[in-house]
Symmetry: C2
C-alpha cells in the first residue's frame, strides 16, 4: 500500500486519503468540498487560504508564495494556502475552511425557512497574468486575454462587449509594466468579456430586483459571498398613471407616448432605488454587473417597453415567455455599462416571473406532498399540485386585500390596524397598529382579521350580511348612505376626526377579493382531483403578516391544520437572489415553466361558478371547512347562551 | 426491381432515379441540386417552381396548391412546383430549374476571374403560418413563432432582438386574421429573430463595404439571388484629418475627442454612400439586414472607435483579431435597426480584414503553386507561400504609387495620365489620359509606367539618377530648385498653365514606395526559401490598371513570365460580398487567419537591408531580374548605335 495522508475538511467533516505531493486544494476537490481559487493555484490571490488544525507536521514547508501572500498575523494563526500546502504522505491533517474561502453558502428567509444554494453566479472574475507584447509576440489584445483564460481556466470566450473591446487597448496599458501584466477579467456566463481591470480585483456585485405593481424592492448582493449588503424600496412611480395594472394599461392605449412614459418612470424609480443601495453600501456602480428582475407579466412588459395590451385581455397572450437578457445600457439601468438585465421567465398569461421565482424558492413543484401556494397581491398567483403535476394560474383579486379601495383601508404604514380581535361575548374589538401609533385605518392583514372575526362572532352571516341578532349592538349602525357598518375604532381613540368603520360595501369588496383567490385555487384543485392539500404556502411581502386562522376562516385557503400552513415571506425577491447567485437556478426556472402547466381561468364558466360559491364565508358548502364550522358552531352556542341569559334578565 | 422514374435536372444535367411518390424537390436533393423552398414544401410560396420539359406525363396531376400559386401564364409554360409534383414511378422527366429557383450562383470579377459560391447567407427569411391565439392556446408571441420555426424548419431560435421583441405583439396583430397568421421571420445566423413581417416577404439585402484609407465603396447585394444591385463610392471623409493613417492617428492622440470625430466622420460618409445605393436600387433600408466590412486594421479600429495607437507603433498590437459582430444601431449605420455590422477578422498587426478578404477571393493559401500576392495601396499587404505555408505582412509603401505627394501626381480622375510610353530612339513620351481629356497630372499606373520607361530607355540609371548620356535632351532639364526633371507634357498640350514633369525627388518617392513592397516580398520569400514564385497576383482597385511589364521593370514583383501575373481587381470588396452571401466563407476567413502566419517586418534589420537593395531599379542585384536585364541591354544597344550614328554625323 502506498503512503497516504488523511485530510479532513471542516466545517463539512469530509475526509479523504491523498498521496504525497497532493495539494490541499486538490484534496478538497477529491473530498467534494469547494474552495475559492481566483488565481488558479498560482499562490498569488490568497482566496484559497485555510486554517490548519492538528497535523501541521504532515504538510510541506511554508512556501515563498505563502510568505508573501499571507499576512504574518495569518501565518501565526495557522493559515496556509491550500493551493501550495502539500500532503507529505503520512498521518492526518485537519483543515478548517473559513467562510471567506468557501464556495458555497446558505441564506435564511424572513420566516426562518432555510435555503441552500451553490455560490456559482453567472458573473465571475478571473485573474490573468499576461506577457507584455513584443515584436515576436504581437497577438492582439483580446486574443491575448483569451489565450490566458484558456490556458489557466480552460475558458474560451465567445465574445466581448463592444464598448469593452473599444477600451481594451487603453485599459491594458493604464499601468506601466515590464514583463507581465496582471489583470482581472470579468466574464458573463462563461462567454462574454464584460470588464477588464488592471491588477487583481475580487469586487463583484449584483442586484435582485422585485418589481411590484406597487413597490420596487432592490437587494444589493455581493457575488463573492452571497451576502445581501443593502436593501431599499420605494413606491413604483407608475402609480401616478394608476394604482392597478389595468388603469396603467389604459393609459398606454390612450396616450401615444404612454408606453414610453411608463417605461421611463419605472426606470427612473429603479435607478433612484439603486442609488440608495449603492450609497448605503459604498459600492461602485461599475462593480455591479447584473440585475435579476422578477415581477408580474404586466410589469415585465411595461418595464421592457412591450405593449401589454394583449396580455391584459382575453386570450391573455404574453409577448414572450423565455427569460430575457438585455444589456443594462440598452435599458438605461445604472449599473456597469456592459452588464446585463436578466428577467426570469414568464409562466404564461398573467403568471409572471414573480410566481416562477416563488416556485424556485418553495420548490414544491418537485415534492411529493400536494401543495397549494398562494402569492397574495393585487393579482393572486396560485399553484396547486405536486411533483407529478402542478397547475398555476392568476386570480384577479383586486386591491382590497392590500387595504386599498376600502373606506378606511390604508397601505401598511404607522398607525395602520394590522391585527384585530372581537370579543365573542361583548362583540367589542381589540387591535394592534403598526408602530403602536393611534389608528388611522386598516391594512391588509387587519382587513382579513376583521372579516374573519365579524363572521366568527356572528356579526355577519355566511353571505357577509349583518345579522338581525346584532342589530341592537352599539357598534353596528346605519350610516348616512343607509348602509350598515361596524365601528372598529371611535374617533376619540383614533388619529382621525371620525370613527374608523368597516361598511357592508367594504365587506363585499373583501369577499370578492378572497373569492377570486379561493375560486382560482378550487378550480385548480378540482382539475387535479384534490380534496384537500397536504400543505399551504403563503407568499408575498404582505402574506407574512396575515393571520393564518383568519385567512382560513374567510376561506382564502383550504381547511387544513394550522401547522401545515407556512409563510414564505417575500419569496419572489428571494428567488431573484437565488438566480443571481446560482446560475443553475436559472435553468431550474426554465424547467419550472416547462413542468408547471399554465391554466387560464379568466372568463371560464367553471371559475365563475366557483367564484359565486366562494363569495360565501368561508364557502357556500360549509362542510368543506369543518374546522371553521366547528369554531363558528361554538361561537353560536356562546351567543345562544348569552341571548338566553339576556332574555332571563329582562 | 421496384418502379422508378429517372429525373434529370438542368442546367446541371444531373440525373437521379426515384421511387413513386417522390417529389421533384426531394429528387433534386438526392441529385445534389439545390432548389429554393421558402415555405418548406407547403406549396404556397412558389419559390421552388421549375419548368418541365419531356416526360410531363410521368408526374402526378397538377395540384390545387399549384393552380393557386402559379400564374396561368406559368402553367401554360410548363411550370410546376417541385414541392408538389411527384414522380409516378415510370419513364423519364427533364426538369429545368430557372435561375430564380436555384440556390447557387456564380459571380464574375472585373478581370474575368470567375468565382463559385453557395448562396447561403447568414440572414435568411422563413415563412411561418401561425394559429391565432385562443384561450386554449395562449402560448406567448415569441414562443408561437419559434414553435412554428421548429416544426417547419427544425430551427430553434436562441434569442430575439430586444427592439423586435418589444414590437412583436403589435407586428403580429397589424392584420386582422381569423384563424391563421401568415408571417415572415428574418433570422440571423440561425439563432436570432431580427425581423417579423406580416405576410410573405422574400426581400432581403446586404451590403459589402470596402472601407479604404482613401475611398469608401458600398455594394448593395440581393441576398435572394446574389446579384449586386447598386454600387457607390465616395472619398473617405477622414481624409480631412489626414490623407494617410499615421496623420489621422496623430489627430486622435492630439485631440481629446479625436477618436469620436473620426468615428463620426466615417459613419456619416458610409451612411451617405448607403443612401446613394438605396436610392439607386429603390430598396428600403429596413430590408437591409447586414453590412460586411473589410478594410485595413487601422480603418477597422477607427471605424469601431478603438484607439489605434498601439497597432500604429511597435510592436504593432491590434485590439482584436477575431471577427466583430455589432448591432448596426450601436454603430449608427443606417440599415435595419436590428441588423448587424460584421467585420472579417484581422490577420495580425497592420494586416487587416482587407487582406484576409483578398485571400478569400484568391484562395492561393490552399493551392500547391507558390504565389506572391500583393494588395497595392498606401500600405501594401503581401502574402507569399502555398498550401504548406503562407506568410503575410504589410509594407509601408506610402501614397506615391497612388499618385499622391508627387509634384504632378493626381488621383484617378478625368485627364490623369494613366499609361505612358517613351520612344527609345527619340526619348519623347506618348500617353493616354482618363476619358481622353487633356492631361492634368499623372496617376498611379502612369507613375509606374513613367519610372519603368525612364529606366528602360536609359534616361535614369539603376539608382534612379538622370544619366549623363541624356543631359542634352530637350526634355531633361534643371528646374528653379536646381533639381533635374523630365517633361512628360508641355503646357501647350496640357490642361495646366505649366509643364507636367517628373522630378528627381518624385522618382525617389516612387522608388521608396516600390522598394517597401519589393523588400517585404523578398523578406517573406527568403524566409520561405523561395527563389521565384510560380505566380504573382495583384489586387487593389488601382492594381487593375497597372501595366504588368512596367511593374516588373521597376522590381515591384519578382521576374516571372507575364502570363503568370494575374490582376484580381478589387478583391477585398469581392471577398466582403462572398462573406455576405455564403456564411461558410466566414469560417474560411477565420481559418485563413489561423493558417496564414503574420510576419512582422517593421523595424527589422532584414527588412532594412532588403529595402536598401530594392531602392535600385529593379534591384541592386540585376541578375535577379533576367527578363528586365535583357530588355535594358537591348535598349542600351540601341542607344549605343544612336550615339555612334550621332558621332559619325558630327
Amino acid at each position: 500500500m502506498s503512503e497516504e495522508t488523511q485530510v479532513t475538511f471542516y466545517p463539512w467533516k469530509k475526509t479523504v486519503d491523498v498521496e504525497p505531493e497532493t495539494t490541499l486544494l486538490t484534496a478538497a476537490e477529491d473530498a467534494g468540498v469547494s474552495i475559492e481559487g481566483l488565481c488558479a493555484g498560482n499562490g498569488r490571490c490568497g482566496t484559497c487560504k485555510a486554517i490548519i488544525g492538528e497535523g501541521e507536521e504532515n504538510l510541506s514547508e511554508m512556501t515563498k508564495a505563502e510568505e508573501q501572500t499571507l499576512s504574518s498575523e495569518q501565518r501565526k494563526n495557522g493559515y496556509r494556502l491550500t493551493c501550495r500546502a502539500k500532503a507529505t504522505g503520512t498521518g492526518t491533517v485537519d483543515v478548517t475552511v473559513p467562510p471567506d474561502s468557501q464556495k458555497t453558502a446558505g441564506i435564511v428567509l424572513t420566516e426562518g425557512h432555510e435555503l441552500e444554494y451553490a455560490l456559482d453566479p453567472v458573473v465571475k472574475k478571473y485573474h490573468v497574468d499576461l506577457p507584455v507584447p513584443s515584436l515576436s509576440d504581437n497577438v492582439a489584445d483580446f486574443e491575448r486575454i483569451n489565450e490566458a483564460l484558456v490556458e489557466t481556466y480552460d475558458l474560451d470566450l465567445e465574445s466581448v462587449d463592444y464598448e469593452v473591446q473599444r477600451e481594451l487597448p487603453n485599459r491594458m496599458r493604464e499601468e506601466e509594466v515590464e514583463e507581465r501584466l496582471e489583470a482581472t477579467a470579468t466574464v458573463y456566463d462563461g462567454e462574454e468579456l464584460i470588464d477588464l481591470e488592471p491588477g487583481l480585483s475580487e469586487t463583484a456585485y449584483g442586484l435582485a430586483i422585485d418589481l411590484g405593481t406597487t413597490t420596487i424592492a432592490v437587494y444589493l448582493v455581493n457575488l463573492k459571498n452571497g451576502e445581501t449588503e443593502a436593501i431599499s424600496s420605494q413606491l413604483n412611480p407608475q402609480t401616478k398613471q394608476g394604482g392597478d395594472i389595468m388603469t396603467r394599461m389604459r393609459y398606454t392605449r390612450r396616450n401615444d407616448d404612454g408606453r414610453e412614459v411608463l417605461k421611463r418612470e419605472i426606470r427612473e424609480g429603479i435607478n433612484e432605488t439603486i442609488e440608495e443601495v449603492v450609497q448605503e453600501a459604498g459600492v461602485s456602480r461599475d462593480n455591479i454587473y447584473e440585475s435579476v428582475f422578477v415581477g408580474n407579466t404586466a410589469m415585465h412588459h411595461l418595464f421592457l417597453g412591450i405593449d401589454p395590451t394583449y396580455v391584459a385581455g382575453s386570450p391573455y397572450v404574453a409577448a414572450r415567455e423565455a427569460p430575457i437578457k438585455v444589456k443594462a445600457r440598452d435599458l438605461g439601468i445604472d449599473i456597469n455599462d456592459a452588464g446585463y438585465v436578466y428577467w426570469l421567465p414568464v409562466s404564461g398569461g398573467w403568471v409572471g416571473p414573480d410566481k416562477v421565482s416563488v416556485l424556485l424558492v418553495s420548490g414544491h413543484y418537485k415534492e411529493p406532498e400536494t401543495t397549494v401556494c398562494i402569492d397574495i397581491g393585487t393579482n393572486g398567483e396560485i399553484s396547486v399540485g405536486n411533483e407529478d403535476e402542478m397547475l398555476v394560474t392568476s386570480a384577479p383579486a383586486g386591491p382590497a386585500l392590500e387595504g386599498a379601495e376600502l373606506r378606511y383601508g390604508v397601505r401598511a404604514q404607522a398607525g395602520a390596524i394590522e391585527t384585530l380581535r372581537i370579543d365573542p361575548e361583548t362583540l367589542d374589538p381589540t387591535y394592534e397598529t403598526i408602530e403602536d401609533e393611534p389608528p388611522n385605518g386598516i391594512t391588509g392583514s387587519g382587513v382579513i382579521d376583521a372579516l374573519a372575526q365579524l363572521f366568527e362572532v356572528g356579526i355577519v352571516d355566511q353571505r357577509g350580511k349583518f345579522r338581525d341578532a346584532v342589530m341592537d349592538h352599539e357598534r353596528v349602525r346605519e350610516n348616512d348612505d343607509g348602509e350598515l357598518e361596524y365601528v372598529v375604532a371611535y374617533a376619540e381613540e383614533a388619529a382621525l376626526a371620525e370613527d374608523i368603520v368597516l361598511t357592508q360595501n367594504d365587506i363585499r369588496s373583501i369577499q370578492m377579493a378572497k373569492a377570486a383567490i379561493q375560486a382560482g385555487t378550487r378550480v385548480l384543485m378540482s382539475e387535479l382531483d384534490i380534496e384537500n392539500p397536504d400543505r399551504v404556502l403563503m407568499a408575498g411581502a404582505f402574506g407574512n403578516y396575515i393571520d393564518k386562522v383568519s385567512a382560513m376562516t374567510i376561506g382564502m385557503y383550504p381547511d387544513i391544520d394550522e401547522d401545515d400552513v407556512v409563510s414564505l415571506g417575500n419569496a419572489a425577491g428571494v428567488g431573484a437572489k437565488l438566480a443571481l447567485l446560482d446560475k443553475e437556478r436559472r435553468t431550474e426556472a426554465e424547467r419550472i415553466v416547462d413542468e408547471v402547466s399554465y391554466f387560464e381561468i379568466a372568463g371560464t364558466d367553471v371559475f365563475q361558478e366557483n367564484f359565486m360559491a366562494s363569495m360565501y364565508l368561508p364557502h357556500q358548502d360549509f362542510d368543506l371547512y369543518p374546522r371553521v364550522k366547528e369554531r363558528v358552531r361554538k361561537s353560536r352556542e356562546l351567543e345562544a347562551a348569552r341571548l338566553e341569559e339576556n332574555a332571563e334578565e329582562h
